[in-house]
């Protein structure tokens, strides 16, 4: 079972990073990162180059951008595998839908979380964040990105097979990700370390529940 999980994760990474030419468009991991950086780049144009204003509001913008960036990969996570019959083949081999969803979550996080945290360093620079603020943002993103990845896989499983599933996926993800935004951005206010603890708790809950829900959704979608 562990060996199968490793094989599935390896395939997810190969497709996400476009090694050997993935079905999901080569190097699909890069689009959310570019989007994330684009938001950080245009925000100062909109509010002006006031360093104090940017320093106060920039952290929140980074969190909003991270949330929106996590919507972009949703449409390529599950749909293609259902259409191609990959999921059917896994199930015939006795792999549970929950294990498939877990492999997808881990693979998706590895291609989404660390690149986003790297990009956050550049964003923080563009938005006038201090090094303490950057550290809080990075810890927050480290806590929140597993949950964002798990939510993405769950919603991709729910919307696989629906018309306009991608647009619907974005609408479904945002309300579920609001707790992450509140605690993540909230932890940036001075003297509110508890925000990170609550963020970690919310993230842990979502990361555990989502693969189970995603597995049930894949099973129900096969009917």
């Amino acid at each position: 079972m562990i060996g199968a999980l490793g094989t599935l994760i390896r395939r997810e990474l190969m497709l996400a990073f476009g090694l050997g030419g993935g079905t999901r468009g080569s190097a699909g991991f890069i689009m959310p990162i570019i989007f994330f950086l684009a938001v950080a780049t245009i925000y100062p144009f909109a509010v002006g180059p006031d360093v104090q204003l940017l320093g106060r509001t920039g952290g929140g913008v980074i969190w909003v951008a991270a949330l929106l960036a996590s919507i972009l990969p949703i449409d390529r996570l599950v749909q293609a595998d259902v259409d191609q019959g990959m999921i059917d083949q896994y199930v015939v081999r006795g792999l549970s839908e929950e294990l498939i969803a877990l492999a997808k979550t881990i693979g998706h996080w590895l291609s989404f979380g660390p690149p986003l945290m790297l990009a956050a360093v550049i964003s923080a620079g563009l938005l006038g964040q201090t090094s303490e603020q950057l550290l809080t943002i990075e810890i927050g993103l480290a806590c929140a990105t597993p949950a964002l990845a798990a939510l993405g896989v769950m919603i991709a499983s729910l919307t696989a097979g629906l018309r306009h599933g991608a647009a619907l996926g974005g609408l479904l993800l945002l309300p579920l990700a609001v707790p992450l935004l509140i605690f993540g951005a909230g932890s940036l206010a001075p003297g509110s370390q508890n925000g990170l603890l609550l963020l970690a708790a919310a993230s842990l809950l979502l990361t555990v529940i989502c693969p189970i829900a995603a597995g049930a959704a894949i099973r129900a979608g096969r009917e």
């Binding site: 094989t7 030419g21 079905t23 191609q84 081999r93």
Partner: protein, 214 residues
């Protein structure tokens, strides 16, 4: 010696597939009911009938992908499923796409070349799957099945899109699998090269009253 054979083909000699009173309901309509058969090692079953009768649904019920409305399936040995979906990554070279399945099935990567040669595709191992033609995809799918080390082959329209020479190769693969003690269950509206196979005309199991809600 017997153990060596089991290791190369990947399954034990006592493969069996049995189902009793199988019924399937899709979209509120009963497709078939009362389907029963028993297959022992080396045997084959050809499910016949026109399109839309439920042959694919029968195969998906047997594979455990659809719930049975009634009845039970008892399988000894692992199953391999070949339906209209090729389940190979479109962007990957054929050999690497097959390697994903050999890793999951525990067969040796070295076996891939042999399986591709058996369907006359050895020269296409480096070609990405998306560049293969319909018939070539179908043959790649056969290579995937023969690499699966599964005792029970469930084939849905295996001869679709194949030319005469490839249908002969399909016959050879199925005969070799049965000679090894494997089981072949194939659903097709057209004749298949399956010697000595039982036939199951699915039309005989379709409920007569179709407009009565199930």
């Amino acid at each position: 010696m017997a153990q060596d054979a089991a290791q190369t083909k990947g399954f034990d000699a006592d493969a069996a597939l049995e189902c009793t009173g199988l019924a399937c309901v899709r979209g509120g309509r009963m497709l078939f009911r009362g389907v029963s058969f028993a297959l022992a090692a080396g045997e084959a079953l050809h499910v016949t009938g026109p399109n839309g009768l439920g042959k694919s649904s029968l195969i998906r019920v047997l594979a455990g992908l659809l719930p049975a409305y009634a009845g039970a399936v008892k399988a000894t040995g692992r199953m391999a499923l070949a339906d209209e979906k090729v389940a190979l990554d479109q962007g990957q070279p054929l050999g690497r796409a097959l390697a994903h399945w050999t890793q999951l099935d525990g067969s040796a990567d070295a076996a891939i070349a042999g399986a591709l040669a058996a369907v006359d595709m050895a020269h296409l191992a480096d070609v990405p799957v998306r560049f293969l033609s319909t018939g070539q995809r179908k043959r790649a799918l056969l290579a995937r099945i023969s690499l699966s080390r599964a005792a029970i082959w469930l084939l849905d329209e295996p001869a679709n899109g194949l030319d005469t020479a490839s249908i002969e190769r399909l016959g050879g693969l199925m005969a070799a699998h049965r000679a090894n003690g494997g089981i072949v269950l194939a659903a097709s509206h057209q004749p298949l090269p399956l010697e000595g196979a039982q036939t199951l005309p699915l039309a005989a199991f379709v409920p007569a009253v179709l407009d009565e809600p199930a």
